[in-house]
Amino acid sequence: MVRIEHKRALLVVRIGDKKFEWPIETRYWRNPLLGIVCLALLPIVFSGQPDLISLFATANIYACIAIPLGWQMTGIGRLNFGPQFFVGIGGYTAALISVHFGWGPWETLPVAVCAGLVFGVMFSPLTTIAKGLYFSLVTLILPLIFLEVTYYFRVFQGETGLYGITPLVMVDNIKTEYLITGFLSLLMLIIFLFVVHKVLTSRIGLFAAAINDDEEVANNLGLNIKRWKILCFVATSVMISVTGWFAAHYFGTFAGVTYLQLPFMLKILLMVMIGGRGDIYGAIYGAYFVVILEKLLTVFGTVHYILFPLILMILLFTLPEGLYGIYRRHRYREYYPTIRVRKR
């Protein structure tokens, strides 16, 4: 017998003997269900304009990079300046295998995950040995070095990048294809959001907060710092690689110049800052904001390259805590991490 009860902000479903509780988020702009419904309506509303759907998918992809980053920033206690390195890893793995072996997207996914895993584990010692500042610097440089490597080895096809990657779905109608891929990007966003939300509201999220606030004390309280940092770094790197995989298959081409250089890194950083540091729901707002701003500014012609960082700088000046900061003044007691880059 299924019985559904509704108490103030809690939905209780009883199936036979078991009881499932589902808290309804009363803050409407943070309510995931409402947000997902709104987002899901977007491609349907704009189904006639494929470039807007493409924008929608791009925003989702950007948000998918920012969401695991929200976990990583607290979980390792340092600021990672090169998340796009793993986007490059996932994307290039998917692109190379797809172009040279003709594999479809769902076959390259496990390979991209493995590549993310391998490189994540390879670079994870950085989190434990490097002092806070060194970590940020080395991660700043990693994508740039990767870019040089792509220029050197001809298999990456340097500046033009790899093209001809198998698309995600192959349907006859172009419009349906756009719709379906748009919804797939939304699905990826929802999965990432769900996973990271579950992680952050569990004990792993508490450990991440403890590591961020005071590593030494957490160590003395019985928290195995190395294990949790490495776990966080590897898990988030795998997630970001999956985003790279998706980007490669969605756009059909993958070039390091788009993803591995400083402007892209700045976009990611700004998404995270504007959305509210480390807040995963804010990251979605930040992603949409950045993507829409960039599109709007192209109206001005080539000057938009200057205007974009300028506007973002003004925004940073006026809203140092991002959009989340406006909310935070009312709700002081939720966890709001202090991001430390330099630890003397």
Binding site: L79, I129, Y134, V138, I141, E148, L266, T302, V341
Partner: protein, 290 residues
Amino acid sequence: MHAIQSVLVYAVVLGSLYLLISLGFSLICGVLGIFNLGYGATFLVAVYGMWMLMDTFGFGVIPAIVGVCVIQCVFTLTVIYYPIVKRYMEKEELLLTSLLLVSLIVEETVNHAYPVTAGVDIPTTILTGTFEIGAVSIPSQLLVVVVFAALITAFFVIFLTKTRIGFKIRAVSQDPEAARLLGVKVEGVYALAMILSVLPPTVCMLVIAPIWAIEPTLGHSLLQTAILVTILGGLGNLRGTVIASFIVGLIASSVAFFTNPRLVGMAILIIVFFVLLFKPQGIAKSETLW
């Protein structure tokens, strides 16, 4: 034999070049304790400021050099130091993001005003022709680089160790709070350090401009080199930076000669990574400025 000679000669040349590039960055790291990620903008302002003065305003060479120095100081103080560094000294993530943004804005502005095809030509050649060392011939302008690197390093060392202001700078680099309590104007020292730090890049750019391709994106690779050299040498330690820049110069020239010039960046990163694994402080022995 010829290869070894070339490697050594170019190691010295490249080392001096990297030294000029990284000295300012290391100084800021040591004194202010921040990373000036807007350092790439310094190089661009030097080159394109010079070009702007000479081409658009029609200055001569010597007035343009003076003008560029003035522009650099003004730019550093009004754009980088006062609005950004002073405001966000405590909030590091905002600091680094804003500095990167500044660097990007400068790069895009320069790209808009003087795109790559504009043909920037700065006639600051001091020595023309090539110079023969043993079996190696290098452009003589590169020797000027070596000389200037030595001069500027010597200037910095003498300034920091023998003058009173240098003493104050070293005090601030070790403990700003204590220096403040002893009456040192810490804000003034910070501003002075920032001005001092733009001197090597300006000189470097002016000397290297005739023989290098000038394009708006050179800030990135120079910043990358500066970061790697500074990390290797130990953040904020000038002695370590000097040694590290020549080590990196040696690595760069050997990799370039024996394998492929394109692998230089990766080789340097791998070496830095390994050094960090065993000596997280870099190769310098002390945490002080000199």
